[in-house]
Subunit: 656 residues, 2 copies
Amino acid sequence: MNKRFVTFLPAGVKVEVVAGTDLLTAAGKANIEMKAPCGGDGTCGKCTVHIKSGAVKAKRDSHLAAKIAEQGFNLACQTLVQDEDLVVEIPKTSVMSKNQVLVADNKLNSGISEALSNYLLHVWQLKELLLEKQESPLNGYPLNPLCRCIRLTLPAANLQDNRDDLNRLTLALKKETKCTDINISLPIIRNLGETLRAAQFKVTVLVSEVGGKAEIIAVEPGHSQQPLYGIAVDIGTTTVVAYLLDLEKGRVVETAGTHNRQARFGDDVISRIVYAVDEPDGLKTVYQSIIDTINTLITDLLIKQKQIKEADIRVMMAAGNTTMAHLFLGISPKFIRLEPYIPTANFFPVVKAQALGLRVNPDALVFSYPSVASYVGGDIVSGTLFTGMGNEDAPISLLIDIGTNGEMVLGSGDWLVTCSCSAGPAFEGSGITFGMRAMYGAIERVEIDSQTYEASYSTINNGKPIGICGSGLIDCLAKLRRTGIIDRAGKFQTSLPTERIRIGDTGPEYVLVWQEETDIDRDIVISEADVKNLLRAKGAVFAGIRTLLNVVGFELESIENIYVAGGFGNYLNIPDAIAIGLLPDIPIEKYKYVGNTSAKGACMALLSQEAWLEANSLAGKMTYIELSVGNLFMDEFVSSLFIPHTDLTLFPNISL
Amino acid sequence: MNKRFVTFLPAGVKVEVVAGTDLLTAAGKANIEMKAPCGGDGTCGKCTVHIKSGAVKAKRDSHLAAKIAEQGFNLACQTLVQDEDLVVEIPKTSVMSKNQVLVADNKLNSGISEALSNYLLHVWQLKELLLEKQESPLNGYPLNPLCRCIRLTLPAANLQDNRDDLNRLTLALKKETKCTDINISLPIIRNLGETLRAAQFKVTVLVSEVGGKAEIIAVEPGHSQQPLYGIAVDIGTTTVVAYLLDLEKGRVVETAGTHNRQARFGDDVISRIVYAVDEPDGLKTVYQSIIDTINTLITDLLIKQKQIKEADIRVMMAAGNTTMAHLFLGISPKFIRLEPYIPTANFFPVVKAQALGLRVNPDALVFSYPSVASYVGGDIVSGTLFTGMGNEDAPISLLIDIGTNGEMVLGSGDWLVTCSCSAGPAFEGSGITFGMRAMYGAIERVEIDSQTYEASYSTINNGKPIGICGSGLIDCLAKLRRTGIIDRAGKFQTSLPTERIRIGDTGPEYVLVWQEETDIDRDIVISEADVKNLLRAKGAVFAGIRTLLNVVGFELESIENIYVAGGFGNYLNIPDAIAIGLLPDIPIEKYKYVGNTSAKGACMALLSQEAWLEANSLAGKMTYIELSVGNLFMDEFVSSLFIPHTDLTLFPNISL
């Protein structure tokens, strides 16, 4: 096979690939994470590159690629290496995060840049991490971790008491744990004789007890005061965060976060499923990718806490949406995507870390949060646990987590209903001209002067702007409406006296930042098409809330608490979100930011058997409402495509 | 490393080894199974070879090796390959069985010789195998195998019934099996979505149900009438026998048997334990060796039954003594050998075939018979099950299995006591000048004329005699005593008028076969030292029986049935065994040959959950009597070192 070198600028990273490889794949090989929300299908137009030298070939004809070519760029995913070595420049707008830019600038080696990437990942996340260290992660539950040390002194064997070793051990454990069903695997039994005798029948047993069943994780000689750690992982579609927990003290010791490496197969779960199902070895690749991501985090945690070793990690808890849970365990996600949207499993088996290839103690047990349905996953169950909204006597509350889908749970101690509406990835930046994830340089706040129509903005970490993230988009929409730049249906008033409103390639648009102020080579704009996309997204969420209420026969006013979850939710401007009709118009004091509840609930379950059992009980009792059945949701959706809504009585406090 | 060739005659098999390798190891590499009861320690003197060309070096000085060298021979285990290629002749007396001789004669290739070896293995075994094909292996238990096919038609998923696949499956299985605890492993879940949909939610589930718990072995699409087979294995220290069972018809389809390849680490369990514990990687080697043995048998079974594939074997049941069970599962047997003789486990976990490397369906479940103590293993529990002596209302019975140890169970429906007495391997031929296993050419019956003191004999398969097996030795002892050649204490009457009685290297001896009639280069004799060894062996067994009776306060006459088990037992001449005081002097009609009960019980348990549960219940209720505690056994042993016994009132029917 013909091998060719591709050098990526400005990083100067050189990789060898076979002729016929596309440049997105080549960049991946160079550890450059390019944006590719469409998963390399050539439809999102995010992975633009500039060919500095060498001949390339287009994968296929495409209108989008042609348009980009006019501007002197190529789509990396659609451009194939031929018989020549290439030099390819990657614009900053095409890479995933600041760290790649830093690498590109050759200021830092990749090891440091990885750490820095985690550091820069996002402010909200860092804030949360710091918060966690101070607050108890138990959130009111008793400390009773999923894995504990039992120190036993067994009666020594002799000719009168010649019971076999295993019996001697399990009898003592049954007494200690009150479990009647004790499971111990063959590898532990194999050397049990030596283990018991190494310290005269004093042993430390690591055991996981859940609901009267005990699983022995390890048996070790003596009564050593070995450390006992666990890791809780929140597997987000975009971001993966890991918490290192001291199981005996019940506290968070360290945290780490990074991008989900599956991003190269697409931004959203659907692209990942398509890749896993349609590509050769797709499932294996996507599965390995999330395992690699988590292993990177584990390494990161253990670098920061040098006294803790891989072998000290005895148990893990993963929470993520249903697709992530499937991919994490290597379960085919195929039918999640196809009507009638059936997941293979909602409750997952506990497996050993070595079976998944996780770099902790090979015998560590790995628990996965249960899901409710294909689009209501363990992350939502975890959030429900964290809010306590399913507790006895809890008032009617709504948990809402807005990402690609808007997932929500409505209920009280007596009942819980849940649904997921396809909000689309607009709030995550996908499908929006200058949309981007909440990263360095993303615009997160926007003000527009109602007289001059001039914009001001703030960005994450005050970087020079390169795009607009979800909270910035909602701000933008609210301000465009408030200043009358758009009407209730999202249509631009092109006659207003400002050069910021103009007709762009796709129709009317508003210039938020002039090119000179940006870190890119274009003006940052929001177009009428972008606004329509955002209206569809917010409309879907509001329609979901209304549908759930309708199913159980309650009104908006019945809701006593609205828990806004997720990294995005944390930076949402609630009045703006109400103003555009994304969230219900109820008193602002009923709203509570709850942050990354998926991660928090994962920590709780790891530290408390009671919390874990409650999580399973919640998953079992949540009633899933399939929005595609009947017309209820669709009617609500159509009514929600205006700012704030067709029915203005629903938003009595919003002045137009 | 220096590589040298060693050519073994008469086979003409050439192998390459590094200088410093001993010839026993080299022979092993050439697939020649030499006798080495001591496990290559240089103490048994069985592995004699003749160096035809090339220089060798002795491993160390030894009296035995020196004595053998005087006769122009070397001990293979004590002779090291040096800087020259060697030609080494192996006498017939040094190899394990006829098949090697056949190979040596170049009459058959090794593939056929392996099959022939199995054929010739032993007559009793073959007879048993044939018997099994005609008799029901269920022995009165209901056909209800440890693995069964459940054919389900699940309700198809739709938007109204959108339960996850796993839930859909397990709910149906709970109904079908009445099991509340259903376990399914991650690998099966991974592709469950496709499996259920491949034949529109019609599936065949292979499930193993035991005591209210179900383990799913496989889920396959459609209602295929796939075959369902299991294999029961009797792992004897010497011989391993496998039975291929049709689980749905409840019958034996095929059988195969071979030597336990662990024999090269020594004849008895102690040598194997020493090797496993003391040698580098010893446990791994000994473990792999039994797995290889069983895999050979599986291959053999499937060659004979070509329509059956590895993947069709869904479940296995192994029965063997406690050491064999430990080694089969790779559990260290170290403490079995050391006082207070504690096995690591008596009840073993069910594991997947792939975890052990067995060449059947990788997901097949492997069950192991429970043991009672270090020297009362699953083979005895299996035998107890087979005899039904633990059934309600069963009269007092004795099960006795004589091998290296004499293991016995005494009891009725209400109670069971058991013990193991170290009979030593005399009846297996070890420690006896011309002792050998029950193989082609072994003398199994002996007559001595009381006038002329001339001997007549018969051999297994009428081969020219090469040694004496256990039943032959007992015959011999009885006849030597009956003709007055030895006295009650085993002392030779050297003054009798026959040249067959003479003084040999080790003292007085009786010539059973003159060299001309043999297939070896010496007279076959039995010496006074051999007789003393045999008296110790028979004394230990009888003392064990007396001790058990004593513990429970019964007399010999209380015994209603004596079940004589094991390959050896099957060919025992009961009147002779009573005459020498090996077995109690009770009416001969109370004796029953029960054959290889270990294998029979393994088949029963595989075919019937009820039998398996009963086997576990029996193992739990058998009280183990440790003979080394107190003086009871030792007193009985000393009294039993005479023919038939010190106390002649115990043998009223034996005339001296």
